[in-house]
Amino acid sequence: MQLLRVGYAHPLEDLRDEMDRLWNSLTTAPPLHGWTQQATKETFPAINLFETEEAVFVEAELPGIESETLEITAVGDELTLKGRRQEPAVLPASASADDASKLTWHRRERGAGEFSRRLSLPALIDAEGVEARLTAGVLTISCPKAASCRPRKVMVTTG
C-alpha cells in the first residue's frame, strides 16, 4: 500500500501553485528597467554585478539622475547608492502659474523622489580605489578588491 508522507505534494496542488505563479507573473509583470509603481525605494535601482579576480563591477540604470545628486558610499563589502530623481520639468522656465495649472498628466510611470539601496558585494573592497562613472543614465562602479581578498600564489619551498 502506498502511504502518503507528510508534506507530500499532490500533483494538482503543484499545478495550482504553478498556475498561481504564472498568474502572478502576468499581473505583476516586471517592466524590466526600472522604476515602477511596485518598485520601492529599497529596490531601485536594479543592478547587475560582475566579478573578476581583481575587482567587483556594479552597473545600474539611473536615467534622469545627475551625478551631483548621487552619493555612493563604500565600506568593507558594502556599497550604498543614494540619490534623488527630480520631477520632470515639462514647462519652460518662463511658464506662469496659469500655464502650470493647465498641465495634466496622462501617464506617470517613471516615478521621482529619493532612493537608497545597500548592496552586499561578494568580496571586501578597497574603498579608496572605488571609481564611478555615469554615462547616458548608466552608472558603472568599479571596486578593486581588498588585498586580503585577491588570489595569491603561494610559493612552495623544498627542503
Partner: protein, 130 residues
Amino acid sequence: MIASPQTTAPAAGSPPVSPEAGLTYRPNVDIADCGDSLVLIADIPGSSAEAIDVRFEDGVLSIDAAVLPRPAAGTTVRREYGIGGYRRSFQLGDGFDGGQIEAGYQHGVLTVRIPRLAAVQPRTIPVKAS
C-alpha cells in the same frame, strides 16, 4: 532609420557586453498635456541621440532606440535587468503638428514635445453682452 550603435572601446582586458540580440524593452514614460502640446518623457538609459529613432506617422508616435555596447568584465554575480533596445508606440490621433515635433536626449532620458495644430488648440471665446 536607426543608426547602428557606435562601437566604444572596451576597458582594457574586458570584452564589451553587447546588447542581447532581439531583446527589446518597453520604456517607462510620463506623458504631460500642456494644452498647446504633449510632452513625452521616456527612460532610455545607455543609448545616444544618434541611436534613437522618433517617428510620427498617421497619428502614431513611435520610439525605437538601440543601446550602445557597454564595457564590462568578469563573471556575472547578479543580474537584475537585461540589456536590449527599446520600442514603444502611442496612438495620438489627429490634431498634432508632425512637422514641429522636437526631441532631445539627456542623462538617459528622451523628451519629445509634440505641438498641437493651431486649429485644434483650445480657445476661450469671450461672450459679448448685447
